[in-house]
Symmetry: C2
């Protein structure tokens, strides 16, 4: 009876990751973990599903978050998390007493947002967050810049810029200009500067934020302050340093630059950018954005900042902190565009051809010996002709094929075939592991 | 205004993973990935949410799966995946044409089931599946046993047993005994043998499967066949080998044992167990279960088998395969019970004490030098007194504290404090990295 088939398809806004994409994606996650751990950040995990009440908090508007929300079997109002920050706040409120502070965590996990999909944006994506909570020390803020730098380098990027600012600088500037009451709408406008340009943002400041044209120009002049980091900080300090907020913001940025330099970060990697506000209420201190020099248009690939209180919705314990989030899937798309992804559909460099099925035990023994030497090895499962097996090896991107039939076993040798050059060499069985280790290292 | 706090809590059946649990959990996943890759399995990922139609298939009963099912914003009937097999079948139907066969994938990802929670079972848990599809070759079946063995060893287990069987053996036995028509209810009964014991299963075979007492005894005698692997296979072949199904099943099991032995797997690691049926319709060939010798009561920690056709619901292409699934969270619970988990709340062995805040640049530079040498290092964020910083280091499980104040910087040395012995040594700054590398390796 030929039943009707169910059409195999994914939901709109969702995608599969076949090996060619998942291999580099796993590598990125592993590199991120390695860098986070190298700074002493520790992993946590939280449930994908939470009480909706917890995810939305008090002022939360569901439509903003495009929550995947439903009633579970126990009639509970539940939803899939839309970021890792809210679950971290809930987690911290529950566990920080036992964990103690300072607490440095990373969390790499999927989140879900039912928003309209654009090019390269999906309704399910992985976030890679790291945060230090329980301290207001600028050392933690400085470390975030170091982590972002080391992370980008570990991922293979050399041409990138970490743009930093401090919300205290902006707040102090607006206070000094007599615009403190309009901070919120002005910062909303300012955030659009890189995308919409000065003319549009100026018009919006006048129309929507309700400031005088002259004030809009003053704010925009400051936001567009150019020059070296030293020049920008000197000017801010000279003109606005008497305001205690701006003064402290400038001092913290100065220390960030000094310590980063002493720690060995190239000066060009970090750029003060007065215009960066990054959202509204959440951030209160240092702010970070990261742009690829060769692909600035995709936006910031690693962003974050300092906040005064992580978990005020769930606990009275004040938990200041600072952290950032790596946009893994955006980076992956960028790397694809910049041809930085090695296209391979295998995780193993070596394929053992199944030449003679009665020798399967020898093939598997040899494979396990190579694995013990640190080499990943696949044994072809079917005793087909060599041609199709080598075609498979080529298609998948194996680098070396190992072949042995009755003649080779009689002589105690293996044929080692380099799949790029298509050249074969005969190697004594006893020397095979060392030979393959050498080959794989030099390819 | 003191707003009312939202109670921070997780949903029933869900849990947080604080660092003490997440650090070993991540290690397990990394080790599983390493072993899978070493055999040439490649990673894939699929969406957490799928069309309900796809997850339930045709005969699927929602109540069986305890699906988290709801309508999304586009009024689509969607659900969270309850395993990784159904998504893999859908994935294979969609992509196998492009990917080609044989195709070996692993998939490590969370799944959700709203079932009633028991001790150690949660409604969200991680599955670690690996499968080879597109081949009926016994080489793939044999490899599954090798992977399970190497996986268990890599995870740190030495005392475990992989129990294998072949559904063809069982089917042939029942055919020979004239019980072919009752295969399905008899195998349901048989699966309960380890848990309920012979008397109960015999009664159930008579009452529910409707077989004569004598037939029940025959089946149970065969299922409980004891002896060495050779003895069991010899007896099966002698008494039932004329049945082509049993004959082929025995031959495949024999080759599995032979090749595994040649490949270097200890003979005691694999045990033929005629009673293992593992569910009903899905498996058609080799079957695998894995038990910890020191904790058999928790059940199989790695199970799987061969199937004739993975994706018949979604494609006409016949995709035979074989694979298994590691029960990561069950293993983690077992390791906790067996005291195999190293309790640590840090991923870094070294803490640099922030003795003098004006030296932060030196601390961060030294930390980055050590990181470049492969050592994970945390710099304490606050310039507190040494006592609380060392108390933090002790609590988290750091092994070494590095301390340098004005005197040390003047002399060009660091105090290297072993946190277990509480002893300190003075080490020249130029030799610090090499010294710490040595310390960390020998601890």
């Amino acid at each position: 009876v030929a039943d009707k088939l169910i059409e195999p398809r994914t939901l709109k806004g969702f995608r599969d990751y076949p090996p060619e994409l998942m291999i580099p994606r796993e590598r990125l996650m592993e590199k991120a973990r390695t860098v986070y751990r190298s700074y002493g950040f520790v992993p946590i995990d939280t449930p994908a599903l939470e009480y909706t009440e917890i995810l939305l908090g008090k002022g939360g508007e569901e439509s903003d978050k495009q929550l995947y929300r439903f009633k579970d079997h126990g009639d509970r109002d539940v939803a899939l998390r839309f970021d890792l920050t809210v679950p971290f706040a809930r987690f911290a409120a529950q566990h920080i007493g036992k964990l103690g502070t300072p607490f440095k965590r990373y969390h790499i996990a999927p989140v879900w947002r039912g928003e309209n999909t654009q090019r390269g944006r999906y309704r399910e994506f992985v976030q890679c967050d790291f945060d230090t909570i329980g301290t207001t020390s600028n050392a933690a803020d400085i470390e975030v810049a170091l982590v972002i730098h080391d992370l980008m380098r570990a991922l293979g990027f050399e041409r990138f810029q970490i743009r930093i600012n401090n919300r205290m600088v902006l707040n102090g500037l607006l206070e000094t200009l007599g615009l403190a009451a309009k901070t919120k709408p002005l910062l909303i406008c300012l955030d659009k500067l890189p995308k919409d340009g000065r003319t549009a943002v100026r018009a919006e400041m006048i129309e929507k934020a309700g400031v005088e044209p002259q004030a809009a120009d003053q704010v925009l002049d400051l936001a567009e302050t150019e020059g070296s980091n030293q020049e920008i900080l000197d000017r801010l300090e000279r003109d606005f340093g008497k305001n205690p907020k701006t003064g402290e913001g400038v001092a913290r940025l100065r220390q960030l630059l000094d310590v980063s330099k002493q720690a060995g970060i190239p000066e060009a990697a970090i750029q003060i950018a007065v215009a960066i506000a990054r959202g509204l209420d959440y951030y209160t201190g240092t702010i970070y954005e990261t742009f690829l020099s060769d692909l600035p248009g995709i936006g910031s690939v690693c962003s974050g900042g300092r906040y005064d209180n992580l978990a005020s919705l769930y606990t009275k314990q004040v938990l200041p902190g600072v952290g950032a989030s790596l946009g893994l899937d955006r980076l992956l798309a960028a790397m694809e565009e910049l041809n930085l992804l090695e296209k391979t559909a295998t995780t193993a460099p070596v394929l053992i051809v199944q030449f003679a099925s009665e020798r399967l035990g020898d093939y598997q023994r040899t494979a396990r010996e190579l694995r013990a030497a640190g080499i990943a090895v696949e044994v072809f499962p079917d005793a087909k002709k060599i041609g199709p097996q080598l075609a498979y090896a080529d298609k998948r991107g194996f680098r070396i094929a190992l072949i042995a039939g009755p003649d080779e076993f009689a002589k105690g040798v293996w044929q080692v075939k380099d799949l790029k050059s298509a050249q074969s060499r005969e190697v004594p069985a006893a020397e095979l592991a060392a030979d393959v280790v050498r080959c794989v290292q030099t390819i």
